[in-house]
């Protein structure tokens, strides 16, 4: 056939036409940052059967409560949700009662505060974003309810960030009040190194290394962003098995019905 060759020639000609323009376009932009490689970790919730390790998630909740919650809200969660990481309703009641939260208004119409109940939302450290910025050198600590899902690299990124603090390389210019972090885009992060060895004491006695705390709080945050995960994956296995069986039976019926046609 002659026709395809003509088309190929036309395409090649078009390519030559397009090339100079693209080189110009490339010159207009600064070269992109070298992408940061986020090391892959092994997690209890990996794979189609994996679910968050509840003991680790409970320790992670302790890390969040004693460290992160000083600056970071988790405003999508209620204390009652904590039964999802294995706390009993009594434990949840006790945990909630440690926090003082707004409780509507009193009889005179003045805002009232009181100990939280399981039905309350997690207490936020700041009344609003402006207050949060004012207390944090102008930076806004993001809400952590969905943080694992909201970052490229998910759990690996959160773990990498928490363990990624280091001295800046020689010659690296740091702005005042910023910290160097290997995983953070641009490597300058407003959050000071949050975790240090032995900083808190776990209720279950697990040694509190930075690595351990980062792992635990990442597990907790993964659960917090995907509280349905265990139920979802368990249901998924059953649904797929059922559909597979149904597909097999349907295919057998199809073969039988079509047997007289072929």
């Amino acid at each position: 056939m002659r026709a395809p060759r003509i088309f190929l020639a036309a395409i090649a000609a078009a390519g030559l036409f397009a090339l100079p323009a693209s080189v110009r376009a490339a010159d207009d932009h600064a070269p992109a940052h070298a992408p940061i490689k986020i090391p892959e970790q092994k997690w209890s919730f990996d794979g189609i059967f994996g679910t968050p390790d509840l003991a680790s998630a409970q320790r992670g909740f302790q890390v969040y409560s004693e460290v992160c919650s000083a600056c970071h809200s988790m405003r999508q969660l209620h204390y009652r949700d904590l039964t999802g990481i294995g706390f009993t309703p009594e434990q949840v009641k006790a945990i909630a009662s440690n926090f003082t939260v707004p409780q509507g208004t009193d009889d005179a119409g003045a805002p009232k505060e009181g100990p939280a109940t399981p039905a309350n939302m997690f207490r936020s450290p700041f009344p609003n974003d402006k207050a949060a910025r004012a207390a944090n050198n102008g930076a806004l600590p993001p809400d952590l309810s969905l943080i694992v899902n909201a970052r490229e690299g998910e759990a690996n990124y959160i773990y990498g960030l928490l363990t990624g603090y280091a001295e800046p390389p020689a010659g690296f210019k740091m702005q005042a009040g910023m910290s160097y972090n290997k995983m953070f885009e641009g490597h300058q992060i407003a959050m000071p190194k949050p975790l240090n060895d032995g900083q808190i004491a776990y209720i279950d006695g697990t040694p509190t290394s930075v690595d351990q705390m980062a792992r635990d709080v990442t597990t907790f945050l993964t659960w917090a962003a995907n509280p349905e995960m265990a139920e979802r994956k368990a249901m998924g296995v059953r649904v797929i098995l059922f559909l597979g069986l149904l597909a097999g039976v349907t295919y057998a019926v199809k073969r039988k019905i079509w047997a007289d046609v072929h």
Partner: protein, 411 residues
């Protein structure tokens, strides 16, 4: 002619109804004994799969709407309320969210099936045009649906896409204001998008009804692209194709379920887990994967108006395809050259999709320009010219002869 319809239904209750409103007779005629070419391959499943997806989307969508708040201050949190507090809300939402992607996968394959086997050619031109209208409605619905969770990508995607209309001279900025209901994407935008996102699927149902009605007038195409010559070339739709579609539906539901249960956010963007913030633009604004090829076409030229025209043109060109194709042979099975050029078109569509996911820099600009050029050249140059130049392979005498290898008996 007044009087009762002569119904052959034996059940007395159904018979009574059928005499007055012959829906049973109609179903029997259109889905029971409806003569269907005997040689469909599994590509002919995808119309049924699209129908199943649409019904799944409507059902889950109604339940989502019962719990969703179309209010800029509440929308994001109400989606989290659905995910966390509504009974099986996570299931309903993930089915709906991934259903949008499934709908596009299935529809793109359905369209490609039509392209490969020449289903758009006479006498099926109007059937094809209705199909293109369905695609456009689907895209509008999907775009507005993606805005509703009111995440960062919802907000900024809506801003970028609605702003495209400002490229049109004179009327452009009025169109944009009208779409927004104000001077930026805001509460009125969200509210009207919610209303339209609820309305359009039912318009879609109407156009799909016409699509199927037209199909049942002209009859289905088939992998050979030749017309059935008699009853030996067809089979009743039921049970042959009801069961064959059921096999496809089971397999398709497994794929859908795999996404819903094991990778529900695989096709999404992490930025949409951050609430919309008009003061902070994400580093990359990318549409959902199913719009990426069109997004790449839009960005392939440095002129905004031209880009917008090319983007809409890439869809509108499909409307005139039945008249651009000059070949009288429908199926690519008998078009040795066009077959490969159509695959090349598919490649250009995929390349455009990949380009759309990257910043328009360096090699991505070259690739998206080449692919855009081929996308259009395929329809506007190759299809009309090759139809005249190409020598098709000999067509089989009949469907039965091609399928069984037996010559026609007594014909």
């Amino acid at each position: 002619m007044a009087g009762l319809h002569k119904s052959e239904v034996t059940n007395p209750v159904l018979n009574w109804i059928d005499q007055r409103l012959p829906i049973v007779t109609m179903l029997q005629k259109e889905y029971g004994v409806f003569p269907t070419p005997r040689n469909f391959n599994y590509f002919w499943n995808f119309g049924a799969l699209a129908m199943v997806t649409l019904m799944g989307m409507i059902v889950t969508g109604i339940f989502l709407a019962m719990n969703y708040q179309p209010n800029a201050n509440l929308a994001f949190d109400s989606v989290q309320h659905i995910m966390r507090d509504v009974e099986y809300g996570w299931l309903i939402r993930y089915v709906h969210q991934n259903g949008a992607s499934m709908f596009f996968i299935v529809t793109y394959i359905h369209i490609y099936r039509g392209l490969y086997y020449g289903s758009y050619k006479a006498p099926r031109e109007l059937l094809w045009i209705l199909g293109v209208v369905i695609l456009l409605l689907m895209m509008a619905t999907a775009f507005m649906g993606y805005v509703l969770p009111w995440g960062q990508m919802s907000y900024w995607g809506a801003t970028v896409i609605t702003n495209l209309f400002s490229a049109f001279p004179v009327v452009g900025k009025y169109i944009v204001t009208l779409l927004w209901g104000g001077f930026s994407v805001d509460q009125p935008t969200l509210n009207r998008f919610f209303a339209l996102h609820y309305l359009l699927p039912f318009v879609l149902v109407g156009v799909i009804f016409l699509h199927i009605a037209a199909l049942h007038i002209v009859g289905s195409n088939n992998p050979l692209g030749i017309d059935p010559k008699g009853p030996q070339d067809t089979l009743p739709f039921h049970p042959y194709y009801t069961v064959k579609d059921s096999v496809g539906i089971c397999v398709f539901l497994m794929v859908w379920a795999a996404f819903v249960f094991f990778a529900p956010n695989f096709l999404g963007d992490p930025n949409n887990f951050i609430e919309a913030n008009p003061l902070q633009t994400p580093a990359d604004i990318v549409p959902e994967w199913y719009f990426l090829p069109y997004y790449a076409i839009l960005r392939s030229v440095p002129n905004k108006l031209l880009g917008v025209c090319l983007m809409f043109g890439s869809l509108l060109v499909l409307l005139v395809l039945p008249w651009l194709d000059t070949s009288r042979v429908r199926s690519c099975r008998f078009r040795p050259t066009y077959k490969w050029l159509l695959w090349l078109w598919v490649l250009s569509f995929i390349v455009l999709g990949v380009c759309g996911a990257h910043k328009p820099e360096g090699v991505w600009v070259v690739l998206s320009r080449l692919a855009t050029l081929y996308y259009f050249a395929h329809f506007l140059v190759i299809t009309p010219i090759l139809g005249k130049l190409e020598r098709p392979l000999p067509l089989p005498e009949s469907i039965t002869q091609a399928v069984t290898g037996r010559p026609l008996e007594n014909h």
